[in-house]
Amino acid sequence: MTHPLRDRTAIAGIGHTEYAKAIDRPEKVLALEAILAALADAGLSPDDVDGLASYTMEATEEIEIARNLGLSDVTWFGQVGYGGGAGCGVVGQAAMAVATGQCRVAVAWRARKRGAVASRPWAGVRHRVYGNHQWSRPFGLLRPVDEIAMLTRRYQHEFGATREQLGAVAVTVRRHANRNPDAMMHTKPMSIDDYLAARWISEPLCLFDNCLESDGAAAVVVTSADRARDLPSTPVLIHGFAQSIPRQHQTMTNYFGDDPLVGPSYACADLLWRNALVGPGDVDVAQLYDAFSPLIPLSLEGYGFCGRGEGAAFGAGNALAFDGPGRQGGGLPVNTSGGGMSEAYLHGFNLIVEGVRQIRGTSYSQVSGAETSLVTSGEGVPTSALLLRADR
């Protein structure tokens, strides 16, 4: 049975700026640089672009992007909310727009500067707290790390997950970053002893359970699969796309439903696999959203790579390494660029770029023969996922 989105569109171009702690150029300029790089990679020019997809947290509006790039008529534009949950949604909605004829070439991007208040939702905290934050922040649950640490402690309590298991995740993705010259942590190796000795940020999470604070931008170009086949870069098919706001979900402080450890990944995975011709057993490599290390085991569970409560044990040792046991050996290579914890934290958008590289065969930590590549966005917030496949 055919599906109106499956394999109809492709990511034809990827681009990004350098990633660093502080870049002395505005977010607008970073966005434009990444978009130009992605278009060049696709063999297209701004004159071809008629669709724009971005995060609601993006600092630069579509009209600014269009006026700077000198775009012709933009016929589709859309934004997705919830920060780190948005990335795959931004690209997937661009794919829907292309597949339905609302535009022909869409660019999706994320530009972020850690110093910019608009990019850090918790930086603008006021004395009076309204909305969902009034139930948590007055009590000192101030930062995203505190909110996820609460779920982590419960996860450890219910399923016996250990610090050593979370540390294995952090150490593995750091090793991937050490192989990636674009990664902020390229020259900084980390051992499990380094991890265990790190200072607390919010117990039970330490410094190295956290993503990086980064400046940078990344972009991708989405067009029809047919058109992508005529372009210079290897087309990467968008095989599947899903989003989810699960029942009774509360973003970040998801403590108020029946079972807070069943996160948004589960509902997102349901749709993703239902519309796909492949299942979790067919995924060769995954880029799992990693603002915090425990989100990786939770995502492994939600997307069906292991049972509930088994994610931390699944990722122990080198099971998540690009050169680890792989799917045949009961593992799964994840976050092969270093991800948010060790390459750069761009609200998960660099994970999408790396997911494309794995299908092209151009990752610095390439999984041999990768044909099916999963990318996920934020666990613990309204989320999204992309299933990318080789055009073979």
Binding site: V125, Q134, P138, F139, L142, R199, W200, S202, Y255
Partner: protein, 145 residues
């Protein structure tokens, strides 16, 4: 109260009644008068039966610790001054799906670091107390019975 701590915006239309009850020293949440389902955090509509009709029903104020964290700096100054402190999530005895974020303290107006975090155990029983943090607003915190 320590200067600079965050105060819930008690005039929020969804939440005003909750905070008004707290100011009177009562922990009350919404209960749907059509289907009797309890809900928290507050909202206008019952997610079980879509009725707007509700009353504010009292809870016993007894619960158990569902999880906890111990934040360390960097934090807002008023919190950093008390760090490391605990933040807990409490499950209400009446309903396992009703949970509150709060702090385990030795008394209503105690500092947030009054309890040794190493002594906190998931599942331990707690009882609500109300800390008056400004003229109009009191927030629920939790003590050991």
């Amino acid at each position: 109260m320590i200067d600079g701590m965050l105060v819930p915006g008690a005039e929020d239309p969804d939440a005003a009644a909750f905070w008004q009850w707290c100011a009177k020293g009562e922990l009350r949440i919404q209960m749907c008068t059509s289907c009797d389902a309890r809900r928290f955090p507050p909202r206008p509509m019952c997610p079980a039966c879509r009725s707007f009709d509700h009353v504010w029903t009292p809870l016993s104020g007894r619960g158990t610790v569902w999880s906890f964290v111990v934040p360390h700096p960097p934090l807002l100054a008023a919190y950093g001054d008390q760090a490391p402190y605990n933040v807990i999530v409490v499950t209400a005895d009446e309903d396992p799906a009703i949970r509150f974020v709060g702090n385990l303290v030795t008394a209503a107006d105690a500092r947030l670091d009054a309890i040794d975090p190493a002594s906190i155990v998931i599942g331990e029983p707690v009882t609500v107390v109300f800390d008056r943090i400004d003229e109009a607003v009191a927030v629920p915190r939790w003590t050991r019975p």
